[in-house]
Structures are given as C-alpha cells and as structure tokens.
C-alpha cells in the first residue's frame, strides 16, 4: 500500500460522514417495477451478442487443446490441417505473434486476465485443456475439421492433480483479495474445549462451472492505423481493454472493446486464452477473426469455482452465545493466479464470538485457473458455517433462528467498527412469519407424505457491499429535454440499463421515456468490472457526481433573465424536468428552457464517482434469511425442493422486478450447487469428464418450486441512493438451507456437496447423543 493510500484510508476513517444521499427516501421512479428496457430486443432476437456481430471479410478460428496436464510440446503435426480446404493458417507457439504475459486481475485492478501465464508463446503445457494450436479458416466448419487433423506429440511431466494428496503441503496465501488469510481473536481452540455445547465438523464442496448460456466469444479486427476493435463477451470492458493493450504493447486508446449484450457471466466472462488468441490470429492473418468456444471448451479453458475442505467448530455457552468460532480450510488453486476463494469472509462479519480463529490455506494444482463464480467464497463458506450453526442449534436445543438472535453482534466482530446498516434479524422475523416457520416440527423425520419425508431448513445469506473505485459516467442534457447517460457498463441480463435509467430519471426529475442509458463500449467512460455485486451502486455514484456537475454547469448557463439567476447548486433541486429553488418552489425553470435561452443544443459533462470512503469507516454488508422446504423420498433418496422463501436485507431496492429475478436466479444457482452440480475432475489426467450440459446437471424447471422473495427495503444511509448490490447474495446460504432441511426431513446430515441421492441412501442417521441440558432461555 502506498503512503498516499495509507493517508487516504486514515483520513477516511476520521472524516465526518457526507450525510445520506438526499434521494434516499424518494420513491417516484426508483422502486417501481419497470420492465427491462432491453426485453423487446432480447425476445425478438434483435440484441446482438459477441458471436453475432457481422464483420466484413471475417475468418473463423478453432482451437486444439492439450491432452496432458503438464509437460512440453515436442512436435505439432499440422501439414494435413494446413492443406485442408478453406484453411488460412495454423497458429502455434512457433508462429504466434509475440504477446506480453498479462498481469492477473485479482492483483491488478486494471487487468481482467485470469492468469498471468504467457499465451501460446512457448512449448510449455500448464493444464489439461490449454490451447496449443489454432486454425483460421474461411468457415467455422473448415476450421473445426482442420483442427481435428492436428496431432500433437508431448513429453508429459508429473502433474500435481490430487487435492487430497497435496493437502499436507497446504500453505496460507499471501492475502485474500487484500485481506489477511488469518485472523485470531483470543484462543478459540481453548474456548471450544471449555464450551458447554460443541460442534466440530469438516465440510467439503466440489468444483463448479458457471455455464452461462451464452458461450464465450471474441471477434477482433485490426485497423490499418494500428487500432484494434474487439467484440468480446465481457463483464469487464475497461479492464479487458487495458489487459489487451498491455499484452499487445498498444496505447489503451488504440483499443476499443464492445459488449452491448452478454448472455450471463457470473464471474466467468473475463479474459481467458481465447481472447488473446483471437486477436493474435487476426494480427497474423490480417483478417477479422471470430472465435466462439464450444461448451466443452468453456469447461477446459475457462475456470470455475474451486473445491474446498472446510472445518467449522463452534463452542456455545449455556446461554447460547458463542464462546468460540473457528472457520478454517483449504482450497485448490493455481500458481498463475491469486484466487484463494474467500470462504472465510462470512465468518469474519456475521456473528459475535468471544474467541475466533479464521484461517485459509491453499494447495497449488496443475489445472485451469480457478476464478470467481457468483458469490465466490461466500457461497461455499455459508454452506459450511450455516450448516454448523444448524448443528449447534440442535446441540443447544435452540431454534436455529433463536440461536442467531443470541449471537447477533453489536459491531463488526473482526473489524471492530460499526455496521452501516444491519437488519438481519428483521429479515429473519419477516421471513419466518411469511414462511410459517413457527409451525415447523423441529424433530427430524417427523413429517411425511407417503414415501416422501418433509423437512424445513433455514440459513443466513451474506454478501459484502462493494463499491469499486474507477466508476465514471458521461451525462448529456439536450435542448429537447432529454437526458443520455453513457458508461462502459455491462448488461449481462440483470437489468443494468433499466435501473440506471430509473436512477437518472429520478435524480434529474425527468420521465423515464426521456432518459436513455448507453453502455457496453469502451468509447464510453470507464466502469468497474461487473463483479462483486458492485456495478449498480458504482454507476449510481458516478451518475450522481455527473448530475451535480451538470447542475452547476446549468446554473452557470442561466443568465440574469432566468428565474434561477444567482442560484447555487445547494439552493436548487430537480423537479418536473428542471431545476427549482428549494426556498421558493415557484422559482425555477426546465432544462429545456435553460438550454434554449442560452442557444445550446446540449450540455454535457463527465464525472468520476468519489472514492468509496464509506467502506473504510463502516462495515457494509448485505444479509438475508433463506427458508427451504424439501421432500426426500425414503425409497430412492431423491430430493425435491417444494418451497422456498428468501428474505433479504440489502439496503433499498431500485426495481422490484429486476431485483426479484436477481434474487431468484441466485437461489436457483444455489439449489444447483446444493443438489446436482459438480465438475468431475479426473485426478489421473487432470481433465474434466462431464464437460457438457447433458452431464453437468444445472437445475431444470421441474427442479425449482415457486420461489418467493421479500426484502426489508431499508435504505443504507452510507450508500449512494441507500442501495446495495444484489447479484450474488441469492446464492449464499442456499446450500446450507437445503442441507438443514434435509436433516429436518431425514435426520441425516450431509456435509459434502452436492447432496445427491446416493449420499442420502448411504448416510447413517446422525444419532444425537442425548443431552440432558439445553441452552438456558433468555
């Protein structure tokens, strides 16, 4: 950390709060269930994705992937491929244009590269599935066929592939996204031994892949003037531009990256090998080149969520408070990335405990770089933590919600600073009432319908509030009374454009029909990565800054004939498509009138969001309570979810319609994580063996019940517009709620995901030792 950064941080902690956003309680347009503005484009097929952009003189690329996990390429036999009809060239490490190895994104903010390995620059193979050759041809079919003719000879080396075998060598990573890998408060192991009630268990989670419906695609075209245009399925446009510029030694201004629509990303649509290779092939052939990954290639050359083994140990006092909380564990990572999967983050901020031990370790494996996948860390961390809490509640003979009430902290337990806004217990209260939690029979195996055993479970959802630095926006007001907001932001299906129009319309007091939002292009001002659920609030902060600046500009434009003559920004507010004095609401005029009098067609400004100082002074977190009902077939062990309710505390909700879909989507992905999804990594070869949607089981409609979502809608006074990002929290707590419901249904505690029917059939019922005492009532 630089001295300047340290000073800034120290200052941020002592500076007075700015005061809440004045719009924090305004609900004219914000809070309305506006339908997605891009909906008609999507359903009519008019929205163009990266693989669909028409380009003149386009050539098509196809990849050849390594079939060994580690070693050297000895020879690549490509003569047949080169002679095949329609082939333009075959690119290998022997003729690929020189590229600098990229910096990797979890260490450098302006990078979107998920690995810092050189791409096709030498004969080394680092994982099974790494691209070793690429064919460029006049058609996709010709390229694919020629690629199938290429034979590669390897000299394999022994690869590190077994997680269990490497576990004894696990070591702490340097840091976890800037946070320390270890936190110790007092002596948690001793506290555990002395506790009246104890749980000490290992939980395991497998590898997962994102499987966005849109396959990764890149199309690249070099201009004669040395410029480069890239269409890329991307959730990090600005960082992708900077990454490409670094690798190809270009000025960032020479590179334009576009992605107006992205068909799902979930953390996976950053820069992988194919993006570099597509650009390199375009350079080599002096053609526009497109590459679209197959589903199998998505598994092999883009990474997913890594596997974990986690220990959670909880020691409770007689009154149900926590004496000790231990959350430790190991994940599998690669040496060419820095992504330990932050599964201990929830335990750092969720519950009060007298003694705490938090520790993450990693083992390095020879595999494709693992990466962020919807709520990385928090998704699997809450599985372990919230399963263990359920086990503790049973040990203490306490209702699991009551247990959480007793361990509710007054301030952030590890950062020792206040929460900006924390209403988890309110989310539990409202959720429990709506779900009918009070009617649940806590005795395992007590409810049934024929062969189906029924159970209910609950778990806390948790995800941090992030607002990343680097957000900016351009705002233009035109003389016909319209506003246009521009930012290099990302629409991956979550409703970005819609909610940003709602926000700008509210802040400018214009009807939504007169506001538009342009995005998905690095010609617009930079936005941060659409990750960490930060995009919405980051753009809101940038637009807020732009509106402030524009108001000042407008007031300067008002001559002495204007009713606003002599007003300062603090004196006016937006109303009815214009600015009006706060002390005299009759004095003011419309944007249109101001511009027309000044003879201007438009007025424009670009502004940057202020640094996210709110995150330094406050612990800013989002919460929720997941309620699940399952049916488990006693004969077959089949598990079906029959009811779901998510109750969230995520600040204020901008748009109930798009937010509801975000929460539901997260819960559905969590149900997949809980019950059916797993990427099978064959430790003999280092290959994924179920690299297809037929064999990698995401949930289908029949697996998903009606999902009800509710929210507190309590604005966070420290956050722009009082809102938190919500893209990821829905997946958190989900798997634990399922596991806890399965326990309630069957008396079987499954601590390894996914909870498949064979695990149910072979698990012994967890016999609870009879406990004479229970936690004392409070």
């Amino acid at each position: 950390m630089s001295v300047l950064q340290k000073v800034t941080e120290a200052l941020a902690k002592v500076m007075p709060d700015k005061g809440p956003d004045p719009l924090i309680e305004t609900w004219h347009i914000v809070g309305q269930p506006l339908s997605r503005l891009d909906g008609p484009l999507k359903v009519s097929g008019a929205a163009r994705f990266a693989a669909e952009v028409p380009l003149e003189n386009l050539a098509y690329a196809s990849l050849v992937l390594s079939t060994i996990a580690k070693g050297r390429i000895l020879r690549i036999h490509s003569d047949d491929a080169r002679r095949a009809i329609g082939v333009i060239t075959v690119m290998t490490h022997e003729n690929a244009p020189r590229m600098h190895a990229p910096p990797q994104m979890f260490t450098y903010r302006d990078s979107a590269a998920t690995s810092n390995l050189p791409v096709m620059q030498d004969n080394r193979v680092h994982w099974n599935g790494e691209p070793v050759a690429l064919v460029v041809a006049e058609s996709q079919e010709a390229a694919d066929y020629a690629a199938s003719l290429i034979r590669v000879e390897y000299e394999p080396e022994t690869a590190a592939l077994s997680f269990d075998a490497r576990k004894p060598e696990a070591k702490p990573p340097k840091d976890i996204l800037g946070e320390p890998p270890d936190i110790t408060v007092g002596g948690a192991e001793d506290a555990l031994r002395r506790s009246a009630f104890r749980v000490d268990q290992l939980y395991r989670t497998p590898r997962y892949n994102h499987n966005a419906i849109e396959l990764h695609a890149t199309a690249a075209k070099w201009g004669s003037d040395g410029t480069l245009t890239v269409h890329d399925a991307s959730q990090a446009l600005a960082a992708t531009r900077d990454t490409i510029a670094k690798s190809f030694a270009l000025e960032p201004e020479k590179v334009r990256v576009m992605a107006p629509f992205v068909g799902g990303a979930f953390g996976n649509k950053c820069v992988w090998n194919h993006t570099f290779l597509c650009i390199a092939a375009a350079k080599l052939t002096a053609r526009a080149v497109r590459i679209v990954l197959t589903r199998e290639e998505v598994f092999r050359i883009t990474g997913g969520r890594t596997l974990s083994e986690q220990r959670v140990a909880l020691g409770a006092n007689r009154d149900g408070t926590l004496a000790g909380l231990i959350h430790t564990g190991i994940t599998g990572v690669v040496s060419h990335n820095a992504f330990p999967e932050q599964f201990t983050f929830p335990a750092r901020h969720l519950y009060a405990a007298e003694h705490m031990l938090i520790q993450q370790k990693v083992v390095e494996l020879d595999m494709v770089a693992n990466t962020s996948m919807r709520a990385p860390g928090e998704s699997i961390g809450t599985f372990a933590l919230e399963s263990a809490l359920d086990e503790l509640a049973i040990e203490c003979s306490l209702d699991p919600i009551e247990l959480r009430r007793r361990i509710e902290p007054q301030k952030d337990p590890t950062r020792n600073i206040p929460f900006s806004s924390r209403n988890l217990l309110e989310a539990y209260r409202r959720g429990a009432e709506r779900f009918g939690w009070a009617q649940r029979n806590p005795a395992p195996g007590s409810q049934r319908d024929g062969a189906w055993q029924i159970g209910q479970g609950v778990a806390t959802a948790y995800y941090p509030y992030y607002r990343m630095p680097g957000g900016s926006a351009r705002l233009r007001i035109t003389a016909d009374g319209r506003a246009v907001v521009q930012a290099a932001a990302h629409e991956m299906g979550m409703g970005t454009a819609t909610v940003q129009v709602q926000h700008a319309a509210e802040r400018l007091a214009l009807p939504v029909e007169r506001v538009s939002f342009e995005y998905g292009d690095t010609h617009f001002p930079d936005s941060p990565v659409a990750g960490g659920s930060n995009q919405t609030v980051s753009i809101v902060a940038a637009v807020t800054a732009a509106v402030q600046e524009l108001v000042e500009k407008l007031l300067r434009l008002c001559g002495k004939d204007s009713p606003l003559a002599g007003s300062r920004a603090a004196d006016v507010g937006a109303r009815d498509g214009g600015l009006y004095r706060l002390d005299n609401p009759t004095r003011g005029e419309s944007y249109r009138a101001i511009l027309q009098r000044a003879g201007r067609d438009y007025l424009e400004c670009t502004a940057k969001a202020p640094m996210p100082a709110e995150m330094k002074k406050y612990s800013m977190q989002s919460f929720g309570a997941q309620f699940c009902e399952v049916r488990v077939n006693e004969v077959s062990g089949e598990i079906r979810i029959s009811r779901w309710l998510g109750s969230f505390d995520t600040g204020r909700i901008l748009n109930p319609k798009t937010a509801g879909s975000q929460f539901r989507g997260g819960i559905i992905m969590g149900i997949g994580m809980a019950l059916t999804e797993e990427s099978f990594f064959d430790e003999r070869s280092g290959r994924f063996v179920n690299a297809s949607l037929a064999e990698y089981h995401v949930p289908v409609h029949l697996d998903i019940p009606q999902i009800e979502v509710i929210w507190n809608d309590i604005p966070d006074p420290q956050a722009p517009l009082g809102l938190h990002g919500i893209g990821e929290i829905g997946i958190t707590g989900t798997a634990a709620a399922v596991a806890n419901a399965v326990y309630n249904a069957t008396g079987k505690r499954i601590r390894e995901l996914p909870i498949t029917l064979d695990k149910i059939l072979t698990a012994p019922p967890t016999l609870r030792r009879s406990v004479a005492t229970s936690a004392t009532p409070r």
């Binding site: 077959s636 019950l675 064959d682 070869s685 290959r687 063996v689 179920n690 409609h701 697996d703």
Partner: protein, 335 residues
C-alpha cells in the same frame, strides 16, 4: 465434424441398397439425429455417408391380434401420446415421457432410440481411453468416475450402460424388433438385440452391417395386467436413469397372488435388463413385500459395484420392491 455425403431413402429396400453401395465409406443410417449428430459433432462418430431413413415407416398400427406395430420412424412423442399406447401400455408412455426433453422427443424415433449409444463420460472424451471407441485401448471408467455406470453384466473391458428409458419398457413388454437387411428380413426379441460388453464393447447390437430396424412389435398384455415405469435420477427432468424399473403384474382374482410378472431394469447394464430371475421368483407367488424382496435380491445377486456406483445395487432392490408394492396394492391398503 468431418465431411460426409447425405442420401435420403424412401423405403427400406432403397436404404439397404444405398448402404451396400456406400460400404467402405462407413455409412450410417440417420433417423431423428438426436444422438448420431451429437456424436458426429463431438468427433466420436465419423460416418462417410449418412443415409436418412427418418421418413420411412412412421406409422403406428394396431393389428387384428391386438399387437401394436410401431414404425421405426415413429417419433417418441407420437408413440407416447398414441391412444392405444396410453391406455393399454401406460408403462411405455411413462418411460418415453420420462426420457430426454420434449424437444428431443419430438425429433427422436423408435429405431433411433433402440440404437442410441452410451452416455459414459469417457466414451464422449476422445482424449480418454475407451474400448467402445477404440477396441483394445482400455477403459478409463473402471477406475474413474463411474457413478452412472453398470452393475450387471459388466466386463473387464466396459462398464457402460444403455441409456434408453423406452427400451426398458419394451424389454418388459416382450417387444419384437422387425429388421430388414441385405440377406432379407428377420425378427429378433428386443431383449436379444443389445449385447453385453464382453471383450468387444464396440459391438453393441446383433445387427449385421446394413441391417435396418423397420418396426417394433408389442404383443398384447394378458388381461388385467397393471404396469408402471419408475425412474430414479439426479434431477427431475433431462437426466438419464440411475436406476429405472419397468414392471407389469397380473394378479389372481383375489389380488393376493401373482399370476405373472414382467420386470426390466434400466441404468444398470449395457442393455435393457430383463429381470427374468426375479420374474421366476414372483411367478405364482403371494404378492407380499417379503417375496418382492426375495425377487429383487435374487436378481441383483450377481451385481458388482465399483468405487462410485455400488449404491445402485441397493437402490435397484429398493425401487423394485417399492414398484411391485405399488402395482399390487389393493384398495384400502396402507400406502
């Protein structure tokens, strides 16, 4: 995908002639294409000639003797929704609608369903060893991920399963496969069509080169026979069976004794598994849970589990017993 030529046949004789003409260019018959085209895309199959037979014999006919004749080109959806099938062979309708997805069932045919190939992960990955793809290359499933693999009739060379649901019901229904080929027509019991892997798992059926399935005949069931298809899988739709059971039971008049039982298992073997050992135990036996359990135990006695699929042995027994209980339940019985 490799280059291939495409021919369209208008009747079986023309298809067989085309096949003979193209011999040497690895010809393959194409029906709905829901499996073959996938395999071509994955480079697992590389036919030089495709002979499209999808237009041939789509009819579903009821013969005078009560048998049903399913044309090989009849779509899965058409079969499942056919009134005679729904009413007289509900187990077959259930098996079909429990397979694949509605879109696939709209394309897939009777003949193609019989000829579909395994879903073994290693069969689909050309970088893995697979005796089915390359004879003698080895089997990576034996000690790999084998949770979905076979427990009955396996060999040291292959533990793949046949993925069909429909065939399991057809096996229980004593279906007969009508075949035409270069040396004339013949008929084969469906249970004799698919082979066990042995040391040639690449040879999956008894069909000779050029032979074409033209129809599947379903003989009528004895009166008062109840039937059901029960499928156990990892998700509620679009997943292959871990274990499935097709069962048809004819009870005596008082409903406490089994006159005849037919039982077939899916997801457990290289072919739809007719459980004739269990049927022998059930024949003439009292319809009791104890007897059902004996039947299941007897059928699964020779089952062999591996690292991840051993659970299927117990699962198959449980589902057999439960399915028989369901079929023999009398009004007023406790569910």
């Amino acid at each position: 995908m490799n280059e291939f030529s495409y021919e369209r046949a208008t009747d079986p004789a023309a298809a067989i002639r085309l096949f003979s003409k193209c011999n040497g260019r690895n010809p393959r018959y194409l029906a709905g294409g829901t499996n073959l085209v996938d395999l071509m895309r994955e480079d697992i199959e590389q036919p030089g000639t495709i002979i499209d037979v999808s237009g041939i014999s789509q009819a579903i006919q009821r013969r005078e003797d009560g048998a049903i004749l399913l044309g090989a080109g009849a779509k899965n959806t058409a079969v499942a929704s056919h009134r005679d099938i729904r009413e007289r062979f509900p187990m077959l309708t259930q098996a079909i609608v429990n397979g694949a997805s509605a879109q696939i069932r709209n394309m897939a045919t009777v003949g193609g369903n019989l000829m579909q190939r395994t879903r073994c992960y290693y069969f689909y990955d050309s970088a893995a060893r697979c005796n089915k793809r390359v004879r003698g290359s080895g089997c990576d499933a034996l000690d790999g991920f084998n949770r979905i693999h076979a427990i009955l009739g396996t060999s040291a060379h292959c533990i793949a399963t046949h993925p069909s649901d429909m065939c399991v019901a057809l096996a229980a229904l004593d279906a007969i496969v009508h075949i035409e080929g270069p040396s004339g027509p013949r008929r084969l019991k469906l249970t004799d069509l698919h082979r066990l892997p042995g040391d040639t798992p690449d040879v999956e059926t008894e069909l000779a080169p050029g032979e074409l399935i033209t129809a599947v005949e379903i003989p009528p069931l004895p009166p008062a026979t109840r039937s059901v298809y029960r499928k156990v899988r990892d998700r509620a739709s679009y997943a292959f069976a871990l274990v499935s059971v097709a069962a048809a039971v004819q009870l005596n008049e008082s409903g406490d004794s089994i006159l005849a039982a037919r039982l077939a298992l899916g997801g457990v073997a290289h072919r739809p598994w007719r459980a004739s050992v269990a049927e022998g135990v059930l024949q003439g036996a009292p319809a009791t849970e104890e007897r059902f359990r004996q039947a299941a135990e007897a059928e699964l006695q020779l089952a062999v589990g591996r690292a991840h699929n051993a659970f299927k042995i117990d699962l198959a027994k449980r589902v057999v017993v439960d399915t028989l209980k369901e079929l023999t339940r009398r009004p007023g019985d406790e569910p």
